[in-house]
Amino acid sequence: MSDQAASLRHPPATANADADALSAEIAGLIVQALNLEVAPTQIAPDQPLYGEGLGLDSIDILEIALVVSKKYGVQLRADSGENTRIFGSLRQLVDYIIAHRTK
C-alpha cells in the first residue's frame, strides 16, 4: 500500500479508479460529519474547502481530522504550511490520505 502514492503520480487505470472511489467516499464523510447542505457529488475536486469555496472553518477542519483518523488511521499534522495544503481542496485531502493511510 505504500506504493499507492507513487502509482498516483504515474497512474495506471486501476489506481485512478481507486482514487476516484476514495474521493467520493471522503466527500461523503465530510458532508455527513458536518451535516452540510450540499451533496457529496457537488464538492468539486479542486474547489477550496477552507474559507471561500465550501466555506469550512477551523472547527470543521478539526471534525474532519477526527473522522479521517478514525476511518483511515491518518493523523493530520500541520508542518510549516501543510495545513493549508491538506485542506486546499478535496483532491489535496485525498492525496494526503492516500499517502498516509494506515487502514
Binding site: V67, L76, N83
Partner: protein, 443 residues
C-alpha cells in the same frame, strides 16, 4: 527561561533583548494592535509596548472589518504582525525575522542581562473588545495592576503559584482573553515558561506537550479536548489540564482526567472581567469566585464587580449563588452566541447582516437542535430577505464583517420574515422555517 520554541528554551535575556529591539523599531504611535500568531512574538510585542508606555489592542475577531474598527478607535494604531500574507487596513509592522539570541555571533557585545523595565501598576496595558449590539466593538480597559492581581490569584487557585516553574502549552490564541491570561500573563506574572507554538491537530498537541519539560500544563477548550480524546493519539503525561470558554460536559472532564491521569480545572470568566472563578468539574458543579469578586443576579444576567474587575459588568449568564463565594451556572441569556469559545450576540450579528447592501430584512437565531456534528458545536442559523443576492455573495459579505464561526448554518432565503403583528420575530416561527426549509421561498 521564559519560553520554549519547538522544545528549545528561550532565555529571559533573549526575551528582554528582543523587546528592546522591538521598542526601537516602533514608529511614533501610542496604540499597537498585536496580531502576532506566534505566542512568543506576541509576548515580546506586549512587553515592548508596556516598556515604552504604549497600549496594546487585542483584536477579538479575524474579520477584515475588525482592523477598520480598531483604526477608527485609535487612529494612530499600527498593527504588529508576524505574517506577510494578510492585507491590512492598518499600517503594518512586521515582527523581525530572527531573534537576537538565534545566532550567538550576532549577539551584541554586552552579553549581560538587559535591564528589566519597570512598569507602573496603574499603566494601561491593553484594550480588549467585545461585540456590542450596535455593531461596533466595545473597548474594555485592562490596567496592568489588576491584570497581574487576577493572575496571581488564579495561579494560586490552580496550583501554579509556587516556586516551581511550569511549561505552559495552549491551543488558544493570545489575543483571546483566556489565552491572554492563561498563556501569556501567567508566564510573565508568575515566572512560568510559555510555549511559542499554538498546535491545532491532536497529533501536534501531543507532540508539542511531549517536548516540554515537567511540570507542564495544557490550556485548552472543550472543542480541542474532545478532538484530542477522540483522535486515538496517545496522551502524553501532563501535570494539569485547564479548560474554558464553554461549559465542559461532566463525562468529558472525567474521561480527560482518566486519559491524562491528572486534574482538570475549569475556568469561568469573560472578556470584560477576565477570569473570575474556577471549579474541578469531576468533583463539584459549583464554581469558586476569586477573592473580592461579587455577583448580583438579575433577570437579564449577573452583575460582576469587585476584586480585580475594573468596571462592573453584566455577564450574560444565568447564575445561582450557593454560598458567599460559590455559584452554579445554569445557562446563557438567550441573546448570547458562543461558538467554540468565540462570543457574540444575536443583536450584533443581526446588525451586521442588515448592514449588507441588498439585505432587506434578516435575522440570526438559535436553531432548535444542534447541527448534528460530532463536535457538539451548535451553529447559529439565519433567515434573510435579499432578492438580488445569492448565498455565495451574502456569505462573502458576512465574512468581511463577522468571524467565520458565526456564518449561518443553515442560511435560509425567504420572501418575508415570519414577523407577528407587533413586528417581533417569534423564535418558534424561525425554528419551524429551519426545520422545514422547503417551505421557504427559494432565492
Amino acid at each position: 527561561m521564559i519560553a520554549y520554541r519547538a522544545g528549545a528554551p528561550v532565555l529571559v535575556s533573549e526575551f528582554l533583548a528582543d523587546a528592546q529591539r522591538l521598542v526601537r523599531s516602533f514608529p511614533a504611535c501610542t496604540h499597537i494592535v498585536n496580531a502576532c500568531t506566534d505566542r512568543y512574538h506576541f509576548t515580546v510585542g506586549l512587553a515592548a509596548a508596556l516598556a515604552s508606555g504604549r497600549v496594546s489592542l487585542l483584536p477579538s475577531s479575524q474579520a477584515p472589518q475588525m482592523m477598520h474598527q480598531l483604526g477608527a478607535f485609535a487612529p494612530d494604531a499600527i498593527c504588529l504582525t508576524d505574517e506577510m500574507d494578510t492585507s491590512l487596513a492598518l499600517p503594518r509592522l512586521l515582527y523581525p525575522r530572527e531573534s537576537l539570541g538565534a545566532n550567538p555571533d550576532d549577539a551584541p557585545a554586552t552579553a549581560a542581562m538587559p535591564a528589566v523595565p519597570l512598569v507602573d501598576a496603574t499603566q494601561l496595558a491593553a484594550y480588549v473588545f467585545t461585540s456590542g449590539s450596535t455593531g461596533t466593538p466595545l473597548p474594555y480597559r485592562k490596567t496592568l495592576g489588576p491584570l497581574l492581581d487576577c493572575m496571581r490569584e488564579g495561579a494560586r487557585r490552580l496550583g501554579l503559584g509556587g516556586r516551581k516553574r511550569w511549561a505552559i502549552l495552549a491551543t488558544v490564541p493570545p489575543q483571546h482573553m483566556y489565552g491572554f491570561e492563561m498563556s501569556v500573563l501567567l508566564a510573565l506574572a508568575c515566572g512560568h515558561a510559555l510555549c511559542a507554538e499554538r498546535p491545532f491537530y491532536p497529533a501536534d498537541i501531543a507532540a508539542a506537550l511531549a517536548r516540554l519539560p515537567r511540570p507542564r500544563a495544557l490550556i485548552t477548550t472543550p472543542v480541542h479536548l474532545r478532538a484530542l480524546l477522540g483522535s486515538g493519539v496517545e496522551p502524553p503525561a501532563v501535570d494539569l489540564l485547564v479548560s474554558s470558554t464553554a461549559p465542559l460536559a461532566q463525562q468529558l472532564a472525567a474521561e480527560a482526567e482518566r486519559s491524562f491521569d491528572t486534574r482538570l480545572l475549569e475556568i469561568y470568566g469573560s472578556t470584560e472581567t477576565g477570569q473570575i472563578a474556577m471549579r474541578r468539574p469531576t468533583h463539584t458543579a459549583a464554581w469558586q469566585l476569586w477573592s473580592g469578586v461579587s455577583l448580583e443576579l438579575e433577570a437579564d444576567g449577573s452583575w460582576a464587580r469587585g476584586g480585580h474587575i475594573e468596571q462592573p459588568t453584566l455577564l450574560p449568564d444565568v447564575l445561582e449563588m450557593t454560598g458567599a463565594e460559590s455559584f452554579l451556572l445554569h445557562g446563557r441569556v438567550s441573546d448570547l452566541v458562543n461558538i467554540a469559545g468565540k462570543r457574540s450576540s444575536l443583536a450584533y450579528l443581526n446588525h451586521q447582516l442588515n448592514s449588507i447592501p441588498g439585505v432587506e430584512d434578516g435575522a440570526f437565531f438559535h436553531a432548535a437542535e444542534p447541527s448534528g456534528s460530532h463536535t457538539g458545536v451548535a451553529r447559529v442559523a439565519a433567515c434573510v430577505v435579499a432578492p438580488g443576492l445569492d448565498a455565495a455573495r451574502l456569505l462573502a459579505a458576512l465574512r468581511e464583517r463577522v468571524d467565520a464561526v458565526f456564518l449561518p448554518r443553515p442560511l435560509l432565503f425567504v420572501a418575508r420574515l415570519p414577523r407577528n403583528d407587533t413586528g417581533k420575530l417569534p423564535l418558534a416561527a424561525l425554528q419551524s422555517l429551519a426545520a422545514h426549509p422547503n417551505s421557504a421561498t427559494p432565492a
